[in-house]
Every structure is written in C-alpha cells, then in structure tokens.
Subunit: 202 residues, 2 copies
C-alpha cells in the first residue's frame, strides 16, 4: 500500500527522533492525524522556535536563549570551580544530583580525531585561556568513562597541569563504558565527592 506523499513524508521525518523506527513513526503519524492535529501543529511550532532561539552560552557552551546562560550568571555559584562535561544532558544529570555548585564547560562532544574533532572543535583553546585569565581554583573533569571521554580528560589534564591549574577527575562510581546522562543522582554525588587530584607525570 502506498501512503499519500505528505503522510509518507511525515513518517520519514519522525525518524529524525532517536529511538523511533519505521513502525513507531507510522503509529505516531496515524495517532497525530487521527486524534491530535492540534498537538502536531504545536510540535511543529515548538521545533521551529527552539531551532531559531536556542544557541550556545558564550561562556560555557551549554544550550541557552541568552548570550550568557543562567548558570554562568548565577552569583550564588562558585565561579572559581569549573566542571567539564560532554553534553547538555550531562549538565542536567549533574544539576539534578545537586552534587555540584560551580560552573560548567560543555564540550558538545569529545575528542575524536577520526571524525575531525580536535581540541579547537570542542572549544579547548578558548577554555584554556579562560581558566588562566580567571584564576580558576579547580577544573573537574566529568567526561564520560569511555575511550573518547578518557582521552579527552587526558588531553585536558596535559593542557592544564603545566600551568599549575588544579585538575581532578570524578570518581568512577560511574560504571565503565556507561553514559553519564543515565546514572542516578546518588552515584553521581559519590563520584563528585570521591574525585582525586591528578598529578603531573614525572
């Protein structure tokens, strides 16, 4: 059976959503058309608005509609402490655990030379400058405990330690190979408190 073109097109477009295969895309399409056309239009508007308005904070690179995000502007947070993470979802996970009250720096990825993602692509040149200019007391590395996340943490350590910056890595209460975003709050709190200082290699 051929679907009518705009129906087939919607099924196809829904597959841009992670975890949505052909069968669920079809169910979603029929559901929206049968029972929630208003919801479909609201979703269209929300998508367009979010894409148009949401950019990156000029200090921490997290998602925001502002030039500098609310966390970076918050005077109640410790502005001398920066936690480096891979994604906005990771920021959310750490915030929800309540285990950290400093600022963030969001790499929006990790080092991946094969994909052409080097230090500049994840903002490390500007980050180094900021850490030195602002006399940051400690940089906490909270990249994922995956091969790429570890390599990125290693690179950051190597970049900052020669300048006398205090650098730490969150403890691996986070299961190896896992993704930060899926870890529960108390495990994350444990990982923060158990962080260990990294020493410059001899």
């Amino acid at each position: 059976m051929k679907f009518s073109p705009s129906l087939a097109n919607l099924i196809d477009a829904l597959r841009a959503l992670p975890g949505v295969g052909p069968k669920s895309a079809q169910r979603m399409t029929l559901h929206l058309l049968e029972r929630d056309r208003e919801g479909a239009l609201a979703l269209a508007t929300a998508l367009e608005t979010a894409v148009a308005k949401i950019g990156h904070c000029s200090r921490c690179r997290n998602f925001t509609e502002l030039e500098i995000c609310e966390i970076c502007c918050d005077p109640r947070r410790d502005h001398k402490l920066i936690c480096v993470l891979e994604t906005p979802a990771d920021v959310l996970a750490v915030e929800q655990s309540g285990s950290f009250r400093g600022l963030y720096f969001v790499l929006m990825g990790h080092l991946s030379p094969i994909d052409g993602i080097g230090p500049r692509e994840i903002g490390l040149d500007a980050f180094q400058q900021r850490v030195l200019d602002e006399g940051i007391s400690e940089v906490i590395l909270a990249t994922n405990p995956t091969v790429e996340g570890e390599a990125t943490a290693y690179y950051l350590t190597d970049m900052l330690l020669p300048h006398g910056v205090r650098v730490s890595r969150i403890a691996h209460g986070v299961p190896l190979g896992g993704e930060l975003e899926y870890v529960d709050g108390s495990t994350l709190a444990h990982a923060f408190s158990g962080r260990r200082l990294l020493q410059q290699e001899q």
Copy 2:
C-alpha cells in the same frame, strides 16, 4: 535546573507523540538541537504539511490528500466487496497481508455510546446508503475483537442483514482482546479466508 523556555516547550510538545515520556522527550530535544537541527525543521514542515493536506476519502473515510483515495479509484480491485475496519492503521495491516483485494470502509473509531460516538459519528448512515445503492455483494466486518469492536460489528450486521446484504466477520485467528494493527500478515490472511457468513437471527 530550569530549562530555557523554548527548550522546555519542545520537550513538552514532543509528549504529544504516543509512547514518548518526559525522559525520552528530553533526549529527543537534546539530540535534535545538538545533532540534527535540519531534521527538526524538516519534521516541523512535514507536520504542518500533513495536517494541512491530509483529509478523509469521501468514499471510504481513509486518510488521503485526494477527494477520493487511490484504493477507491483502483479499477483492478473488486468494487463489490467492502471490508469495514476501525482505523487507517488497520487498512495498512490488511494491505500488507495481501489477503484482500476489495475496497474498504474506515470507521475512524467504533461505537462508544459513553463517549457520544454513535452510528452517525462513524459514518454508518452514509455507509448503509452506499451498500444498498451500489449493490455490494459482501460486507466483511474486520473491526477489532474487543468489546467495542464486537458491538460495532453486531450493529452493522443488524443494520445490513434485513436488506438482504451478505455480511461476514473475519475469523478470529486474531487473538481476542488484541488489536488488528499488531497482527502478522499470515494470521490476517487466515482470518480472511476463514470468515463465516452471518445469518439473520430467527
């Protein structure tokens, strides 16, 4: 952590999709903004186009962008045989099973007096007229084997038999309480071939 308003709004709007809870809506939002803004805009356009263009076939009530859908216009199909189903997804399931080459009539629901859905709301008055006007040789009832689907089939039987119309019900190879849309093609094929003629009650 407060999300920025247009981000929170998109998370919320994604919940219009069936099977999408708060956690997956959040993942979808971050994924689209981080990695697929083009896909997000394409989805917005596809939603708007589908809502604007897709209406119901004036003969079978299935989704179509045309006045009369492609199935209803197809001269290779048996125009004297009509299968009555609840939803467009059911049409799709039957089409994919390849077990039926007549036309369809899609109720877009079933009788549900509690919800104010009577015979008129599911198009039965016009359907009866059509069956009589066009000298339909057989009406196959393929509503779901649920309480409401059975009640709807019973109503249709009662409506058509007194006019001498041949009425059949697909065999219940379809598991009781199940939904037609999730049944595999060969079970559906079996259900069609094993259909039994309904007799007027004595």
